[in-house]
Assembly symmetry: C2
Homo-oligomer: 126 residues x 2
Amino acid sequence: MSTVPDTLSITFAALADPTRRAILERLAEGEATVSELANPFSISAPAISRHLRVLAEAGLIEREIDARWRICHLRADALRGAHGWLETYRRHWEDNLDRLVEFVERTHAGDTDHIKRTAGARRKKP
Amino acid sequence: MSTVPDTLSITFAALADPTRRAILERLAEGEATVSELANPFSISAPAISRHLRVLAEAGLIEREIDARWRICHLRADALRGAHGWLETYRRHWEDNLDRLVEFVERTHAGDTDHIKRTAGARRKKP
DNA sequence: CTGTCGATTAACCAAGTGGTTAAGTGACGG
DNA sequence: CCGTCACTTAACCACTTGGTTAATCGACAG
């Protein structure tokens, strides 16, 4: 435990598990107790408990104590950061200008130096 | 076990590291060689090489061999799945209807049984 | 008070991750 | 042909992760 991970890393790490994503999907339909969340899975209760702890520490869920039960609900605004990060790259798969540029760069390889080559000039010019 | 992780888990796991995200951010500006990508970081070349392998296996980058150099470019459409998953939960942080429902549930706790309680009736009615 | 139920913590284990250094590979430049 | 450059692979290490079982805790029913 040398360096504490940043928020975005914690969020993405929390989402990088199918069980936790399934829990969030279930929670998107509405609040639920821990045993209700554990029900669809074949893993043990402590395993679920730890998944919930990860989600809670990532700020993705909240646990409210109701007598013997812990009622979990979604705190989806913690997903905003991750969504925002991905949103930055949206144009790279939606904007076909990129495909055009890429096409020009590939096919007219030699004479495209007017196009920004961020990798700089590496190849020797014949 | 050796159960192979699903695509979404692989994508999120690849994004759950600040070095790899920085590499993608750099790559969003344009293609780059491995050493150019490694330049801003203080970690060793093999460490960078493995980060790139993770990104490549997640389908987030492509490596093209150019003589001695490996030129990396972004393959952002692999982010589409992750983006799409998050998009599902957008309304939970953007729609203030949810905040209203939550407010009613909390403040009028006793007499909101007409509101869908997905967790079922657990608490004893006084 | 005692037993039980929902949930968590503790202790442990196998496997994975991120870093290191050292060695290997393929393409040039001289 | 030999050395170097760009990069990867191999072997190793500390630490984390996801799972287990056993023990624990608090709220309640009897």
